[in-house]
Amino acid sequence: MSAPLLSVKNLQKYFPTSKNVGFRKEKLQVKAVDGISFDLMKGETLGLVGESGCGKTTAGRTILKLIEPTAGQIIFDGKDITTLRPGLMTPLRVHMQIIFQDPFSALNPRQTVGKIISAPFEIQKVNPDGGVKKEVAALMDRVGLNPEHYNRYPHEFSGGQRQRIGIARAIALKPKLIVADEPVSALDVSIQAQVINLIDDLQKEDGISIIFIAHDLSVVQHISDRVAVMYLGKIMEIAKTEDLFSAPHHPYTTALLSAVPQPDPRGERSRERIILKGDLPSPINPPEGCVFNTRCWKVQEICRIKTPELLTVGKSSVACHFPE
């Protein structure tokens, strides 16, 4: 078995914050990402799912070192990049890219599309054969944009087209890793399918590894090879897509899957919904033991005391004392 492209070990990101208590300031920490570990193979797509505020986005950005990790280890292509200074990160950035959720804020409104897509070449001082302009036109063509729109500005494009511009920028330097941070959740459903298929095609052609962050499970099921379910900064379950969707082991995964509507009305009528009680606990003060214990229907005494490790159950890795 070959070495993974990316190896994340016990990654943590705590954001410092403070609360006023009388005249004193109490220092607190938001535990956005609290010890996640996984490997990502070459050409693999890992779906990262979970509800809002569970640390998906922070995890993605910390892996790219856009946010400095608090603790843990990130090994990219055999190199430990955890504590690499920004200057030393620069040459590595050729190989890692990001696609954003909001296509309206991802593009500088004062730059033409051509300029936006040629920025990676300019910054990394890469000179493709035939010049940057030709390469950019080819990229635009590849993502389904008209190369004649080279001199247009972002405001002249629709959300889906803007997302294509963002994708063209991300794949420009043929990266090995792309973090796609909810790339379709801001788009219409019809456009979502197009963009997902575009990402899928590009990945197959270039052999890119993708961390696909999303909260839409059907999208994740379609595109991912493996799926990691996050809850409150921790990974609850990680498994091959088929295994996770056919046989979820963690109660939280089961609850998430039960919330997916089914296109077949008969299936939809017989669908059993598990409705979780209560709210997501605050990441400033997560519950002792298993973080899911406040909302789990299978909760036992041990769940409130001991944090479950990520262990192999069947074909999956599950962090639960009582996996199904």
């Binding site: 950005r61 856009l66 950035r93 909001d102 004062r110 730059q111 004649e148």
Partner: protein, 323 residues
């Protein structure tokens, strides 16, 4: 073939309709009639001021010539309406009988110099402080922020009044400038010193919101240097507030110069500025209101025109703003 031609035409047309954000703002500005009139008035006044010697030569007027034959013994022009005639389109200044239009034109040059230089200095300092504070945040931002607070709370007006004489003497001692030039240097220096905090606040708030936008993160993810992020990603997005501030603070400093000259701590006679003309007109306002009305009216016209241009620019650059 016909289809290809059709397509070709279509793409051509598409190219024409493509507009940059600047072009869109310009289109919106052109639609604002008040703004366009104000812009023309401002440009004409600026041009008249810039080419004052030429204008005076064409009109055959001279700012320094004393028309003693046209004023009586108490200094009032003998002709009706303050001596308005073909030779002297706006009449004469009382007391010494100089041509008023020529004096207004030449006086505006000093006023505009002060206003333009002060605005540029304000912009320069405000941009640097605002960008540094907003982009780097943390402790630097704290120190800069407290310093701007201090300056904003400072009674700048009294400071300028009190420090005028000693500071001008100091400037002359150093040999930086002499006489009225020293006073101009003093005015520009102090007006900008107390003028930049407001602008730096505006820039800082813009930078704070811009730096969290995804396109800045994208630049970081591509490995862009801070320099590139500041100059290529942030700065182009700051032009809108900068342009608006320029057009709104220019008339402000124009008026400020007039106020300080009026109070006698700015430029002094025999040089002319609008403030000095106003000061002179004050003494004759009961016997000779023309003089006062013309000078004050000119000042109002200029300040109003520039302000209206500023308003129109703001509306054109930020269509979502209320008002």
């Amino acid at each position: 073939m016909a289809l290809a031609k059709k397509l070709g035409v279509a793409t051509k047309a598409g190219e024409i309709t493509s507009r940059s954000p600047r072009q869109i703002a310009w289109m919106r500005f052109k639609r604002n009639k008040v703004g366009m009139v104000a812009a023309w008035v401002s440009i004409i006044i600026l041009m008249l001021s810039l080419f004052a010697p030429l204008v005076c030569k064409v009109l055959g007027i001279n700012p320094d010539e004393l028309n003693l034959d046209l004023i009586d013994s108490s200094g009032i022009p003998t002709l009706p309406n303050g001596g308005i005639s073909l030779e002297h389109p706006l009449g004469l200044t009382p007391g010494i009988g100089r041509d008023l239009l020529a004096n207004l034109l030449y006086g505006s040059r000093i006023s505009f110099t002060v206003a333009i230089l002060t605005t540029s200095m304000t912009l320069f300092i405000g941009l640097i402080v605002g960008i540094v504070g907003g982009y780097f945040r943390g402790r630097i931002d704290d120190y800069l922020g407290r310093f701007t607070d201090f300056l904003l709370a400072f009674p700048a007006f009294f400071m300028i009044v009190a420090l005028s004489d000693p500071m001008v003497a100091r400037i002359q001692d150093i040999g930086l400038a002499q006489g009225n030039s020293a006073r101009i240097v003093f005015l520009i220096f102090f007006l900008s010193f107390f003028g930049w905090p407001g602008f730096s606040r505006l820039v800082r708030s813009q930078v704070l919101s811009l730096r969290e936008r995804d396109f800045v993160t994208a630049a970081q993810a591509m490995g862009a240097s801070r320099r590139r992020i500041i100059f290529k990603e942030l700065m182009p997005n700051l032009w809108a507030p900068v342009i608006v501030v320029v057009s709104l603070s220019l008339p402000g400093y124009l008026a400020a110069e007039a106020v300080f000259s009026f109070l006698g701590i700015g430029i002094q006679a025999p040089a002319t500025t609008w403030g000095i003309l106003l000061d002179n007109s004050r003494r004759f306002v009961t016997v000779y209101p023309n003089f006062f009305l013309i000078v004050a009216g000119s000042l109002v016209l200029v300040v109003l025109a520039f302000n209206l241009v500023g308003d129109a620019l703001r509306d054109a650059l930020d269509p979502r703003s209320e008002r």
